[in-house]
Structures are given as structure tokens and as C-alpha cells.
């Protein structure tokens, strides 16, 4: 009789991978992983530059929040003149997904002449209307009416585009948030609002900021669909955002998505977080880190192998090294480059008389 080898061969064959959710593919899963890693690695590099005081001004981290930033932005139609997003200080990941380059971020933080704002505004405060992201201003809440207006322009021109804007558990207390989201809801513009419940507004906990349990509860008064999800589960955030975005695109107006996450660093690097219990930070780091969880999903479900991911990590490190090397010694802006561009016309603000003496 002939020996039966096939079964043995079958036995060593890998288990069939689980089905990939939504409209994702293996390539896109890995691309999201890349953005997650890029976000975290870039911030870690910025911390090093901050310690060498190469960063000018404060440094803001999104450690532990990379998942919701990357996944929500990834759910948009990206490319020139497609969907549109306005990030907050902790949405570095969202900006990278929309096409912001690491070197642009580095240059911004180091106030380089070649930075997107030419050294005029700080950190992630810059945008690209073509690629579809608009930099925030510091005043919390203000971007909600502005993004409502951008969504209004999509509606008026019947463009199949959607606007997405982020707001924090603290920022939702501002009057501009209320005016903007209500205006958008009444006008039924294609706007998706991501509410980031990260347990802190600077040092202020949710119970001193509002009197309901969840952000989803805060927006009951606007007559819009609301959903709350685990913000540290990349796939859950992706799918929920995708649903909201497509509903908005289909003419169903404003949608609000609450993502529960945790701000694992201080408000900014200077903040020692003394008001946060250490064990809470440990728990979120240990059990609910969005990248670790995503890696587990990718590998356990047979969508990726650790070596592939390590390969991506290495590429990301190289990319960041190259970016840092390319810009770290670049000059600051020329002093008098501060004068042009307050208006289109007149083009330049006059230099004061005593500067020409």
C-alpha cells in the first residue's frame, strides 16, 4: 500500500485566516498598522528632540489615543478634493492618515522656515485644503462651526464629500461647540463629529466638566444619530466611523461618534500628571493599548505575522530618522518673513520706522 502523506501535509498547513471585516483588505490593515506605528514613533522622537530642547514650545502626546485618530481618519475617502477633516492637538495620527508628512510635523515643532506655516503657528496647527485637512486654532470649540461651514459648502454644491471634526470631553463645554453642532444639525450638513472621551481635560475630570455619564448623552439634544464605541479598538472605530461617514454622505446629516480612550500622558510634556493614579495608567497601558490590541488581532486572526510588522516598524524608524536628519539643522525663518500675508491686499505689513534707522 502507498503511504498517506497528504493528511500530514495538511496538518502543517496554516489555519485559514479569519474573514477581514468591512471593506478592508490585508494591505489596508497593514497600512493602518503603519500609521499607528508612525504616530507613536514620531511622537517618541519628538520627545527626544524636546529633551534636547530642539522642540520650541510645548509638546503634546496622543499616547494611547493613536487608535481612534488613525482609524477614524482612515474611514474617510482620502485624496485630492475628497473628504475633509479637522484634527485636534492629539490627532497627529489623523493628520498622517490624511497625508501630512512626518517632516512637516517635525519642522512645525522646531519652528523651521520650511515648516508648513513658515514658523508662524505651532505643532499640528497646519492644514492642506487639497488633501483635506484643516489645522485647528487653540480656542476649543471654534472648529465645529468652521467645519459645519465646510460641510455646508459640500451640501450647497451637491458634492459627495463628508467633513469630520474632533472634539474633547472638555471642549464640548464651550459655547461654540453647541452653536456649531446645532447649526449643522438643523442644516443637515454632512458632518461627523468624533467626541473623544479620554478622561481628562487638562487636570479636570469628566464629572467637573458635565453631569451625564457619557459624551453620547451630552449630545442627545441635537437630534442626530449617536454612537459610543471602544476608542482603543482600531477595527471597531473604523467600522463605526465608516457607518457614520457613509450615512452623512447619503444625506442623513450630522452624526456623533463617541470614542472612549485614555490620555496616558499629561496635558503636555511639562504636566507631571500628579492628579492621575499610577495604577490607572498602568492598567490602560497593559490591557488597553490600541496598538498592542491591534497587533494581537492582526496576528491571532491570521491577517499578519509578527515579522511583517517588525519590518514595518523598521521602515517607520528609518523614515523618521531620515526626516529628522533632513530637517533638524534647517534654519529658522528669516525675521522679516513675518511681514507678508496678513491680507492678500495689501500684501505686506509695513516695517516700523525705527527698524530702518
Amino acid at each position: 500500500m502507498t503511504p498517506r502523506t497528504a493528511p500530514a501535509a495538511a496538518a502543517v498547513a496554516p489555519p485559514a485566516p479569519a474573514p477581514i471585516p468591512a471593506d478592508l483588505t490585508r494591505e489596508r490593515l497593514l497600512e493602518m498598522y503603519r500609521y499607528l506605528r508612525l504616530t507613536r514613533a514620531l511622537e517618541e522622537r519628538l520627545v527626544a528632540l524636546y529633551r534636547q530642547s530642539k522642540v520650541i514650545g510645548g509638546l503634546f502626546r496622543s499616547l494611547g489615543q493613536e487608535g481612534e485618530s488613525v482609524a477614524s481618519a482612515y474611514a474617510l475617502e482620502r485624496g485630492r478634493q475628497r473628504d475633509f477633516l479637522s484634527p485636534l492637538i492629539r490627532n497627529l495620527g489623523s493628520m498622517l492618515v490624511m497625508g501630512a508628512q512626518p517632516i512637516e510635523i517635525l519642522r512645525q515643532y522646531m519652528a523651521k522656515a520650511k515648516s508648513p506655516t513658515g514658523g508662524r503657528d505651532l505643532n499640528v496647527h497646519f492644514g492642506d485644503l487639497e488633501l483635506g485637512y484643516l489645522g485647528q486654532i487653540s480656542h476649543l470649540g471654534d472648529m465645529i462651526p468652521v467645519m459645519a461651514g465646510i460641510a455646508l459648502s459640500f451640501k450647497m454644491r451637491r458634492e459627495p464629500r463628508v467633513a469630520l471634526v474632533y472634539i474633547g470631553d472638555g471642549g464640548m463645554s464651550t459655547g461654540t461647540f453647541h452653536e456649531g453642532i446645532n447649526f449643522a444639525a438643523v442644516q443637515r450638513v454632512p458632518l461627523v463629529v468624533i467626541g473623544e472621551y479620554n478622561y481628562w481635560a487638562y487636570s479636570t475630570p469628566p464629572e467637573r466638566q458635565f453631569a451625564v455619564p457619557r459624551l453620547a448623552d451630552r449630545v442627545r439634544g441635537y437630534g442626530i444619530p449617536v454612537e459610543s464605541v471602544d476608542g482603543n479598538d482600531v477595527l471597531v472605530v473604523y467600522e463605526a466611523t465608516r457607518r457614520a461617514v457613509e450615512a452623512a454622505r447619503a444625506g442623513q446629516g450630522v452624526h456623533f461618534l463617541e470614542v472612549e480612550t485614555y490620555r496616558r500622558k499629561g496635558h503636555a510634556e511639562h504636566d507631571d500628571q500628579r492628579y492621575v493614579p499610577a495604577e490607572v495608567l498602568e492598567r490602560w497601558a497593559r490591557d488597553r493599548d490600541p496598538i498592542d490590541r491591534y497587533v494581537a488581532q492582526l496576528t491571532e486572526r491570521g491577517w499578519a505575522r509578527l515579522p511583517e510588522l517588525a519590518e514595518i516598524d523598521a521602515q517607520v524608524r528609518q523614515e523618521i530618522d531620515a526626516a529628522v536628519d533632513a530637517c533638524v539643522n534647517e534654519p529658522l525663518p528669516e525675521p522679516d518673513s513675518a511681514l507678508p500675508g496678513v491680507y492678500l491686499d495689501p500684501p505686506v505689513t509695513p516695517r516700523h520706522w525705527y527698524r530702518s534707522l
Binding site: H139, V146, F183, V186, V342
Partner: protein, 325 residues
Amino acid sequence: MPPVTYLEALRAGLWEEMERDDRVFLLGEDIGRYGGAFKVTEGFFERFGEARVIDTPIAEAAIVGAAAGAAHMGLRPVAEMQFIDFISCAYDMLTNYVATARYRAGLSTPMVVRGPCGGYVRGGPFHSQNVEAAFFHTPGLKIVYPATARDAKGLIKSAIRDDDPVLYLEHKWLYRRIKEDLPDTEVLTPIGEARLAREGRDLSIVTYGATVWKALEAAEQLANEDKLSVEVLDLRTLVPMDDAAIMHTVRKTNKVLIVHEDTRTGGVAGEIAARINEQAFEWLDGPIMRVTAHDVPLPYAPTLEDFVLPQTEDVVKAARWLAKY
């Protein structure tokens, strides 16, 4: 054509720009079917539809912010403040977001914010305000303030076509009080150019808005009663200010009276005085003097409002004093 009022001229300018450019749209409170608290947009809703004449909730910050977002995307919004007094609720949005957008991020924000300003109408402290000073100080905003029907039309059209954000201040006391024949040809008033409202040799009055008319009345009276030849310069645009026109009249008459309806401390007159001082000090034969409202919230009773606001007689007295100096 029959003569048109200041309000009709403004309306005609808005209407023509909406006909000419379908990127132009209006948003504000009660501007649709109702046509606006002062009926400036009467008939617009019927002609242009609710997509281009948007009734908003009572939310000035949202109105201004949404206008800015739409403007970034290439539309040309014109936002109405039902009374300009309520622009204070959009102060943050205008000064921090709109005014800095181009400088910070190279964003184009071609939008107009307009609304009824000013007193002499018994409106009390919250329906009579003059808000130019608060925004005059903010780099990034342009401010126009027509005093005539012609400029009401010419400036709203230029403001809508301008690529920078423009605050268009219209005086409700002038709405139906002044009439003027306008040409059938296009009327455009360049932003940044003052208007010589009356020629004179002895003394210059620099002013804008409703007080242009007080100044002209005073000039007439001074000509008749004192044989004084008074020149009146109507600034029309506050930002960017027409320094050349101001210095020209100063060098011509060597005496300047600055007149505005707004309160004095921190008002626009201070800036004008400082500029004259810096640019034409040698040409001054007397101090630069100011005729303005008194530094109080504008009260409502006619006797009080008339006392607080600058009147023609005040301009006459101050000019006489300065002429004798």
C-alpha cells in the same frame, strides 16, 4: 431712475452680486422669508431660494464660523448680524479664527459680515452700538463704513469681491434718511480710499459713518455764520486706512478735528491722531482735537442719547475753537 435710499442702495448692491456670482450666499437670523429685521434682504429668499438665503439659529459664532468654512472652500458668504451689537458674541471667532486664517495658514477667507450699527435712533445700550474699535485693532480684518447711498452700494459690492474678510458697517440712522441718484452703470467703491466730502481751506474734519452728515451740516453753518472754509474727509474705509488722504488734508489746512460717533477712549480717533502726529507733525498749527460720544454705554432716553452723542452743534463749537487757535 428715482433716487434710492442708503438701504435700497445696499440691497441693490447685494442683489447684483448675487445675480452676478452664484458663489455668493447669505446667512443670518430672519433674513429669509421675513427679509431681515430692517428688510435689507426683502425679496431675496423668493428670488434666490433657501439654499442661498439661509435662516440660521440664534448663534452668531456659528454664523461667522460657518461663513468662514464655506469661504475657505471658495464660496462668498455674506453674514448678517441682526444688530451689529450681537457681533460681540462672535468676537472670538472673528478675531482669532477669521482674522488670522491667511497669516497662520495661508487660508483665503473671502467673507463679509454686515449689520446695522449706531445710534440717534433711541435704541438703547444694546441696539445702538458702534463696534469698529474692537475689530479695528485686529490685523486681518478689513472694515468699511459707508456714509452715502452710493458707497453703501459701492462698498458692499467691493467687500463681496474682496479676497480678505470684510466687516461692512451700515448705519441704521442713515437707512431711510438719505436719498441719492445712482447711475445705472456699475457702482464700485474701492476699499481703502477716503472721499473728499467737502473742499475747504481753513480746517479739516476727518470722520466716517453717520457723523459725516453732522460734519457737513457744521461746515455749512460755519461757512454761513463764520465765513470759515471747512474741508470734510469721509474715510469710508477704516482698515486699511487712507493715510495719504488724511495727511493731504492736514497739510492743506493745518488744523484737524476728528469726529466719530463712537465713545472716545480707545476709539478710532486716537489712532488717527497718532498717525497725523507721526506723519505730519510739522504741518500742525494747532492740536488735533476730537469730537466723539461721551465714555458711557449709550442710554435710551432721547435727552440722554442726544447729550451723549456728538451733535452738529458740537462740531461747530469745536471747529470754531480750533479755527481761532
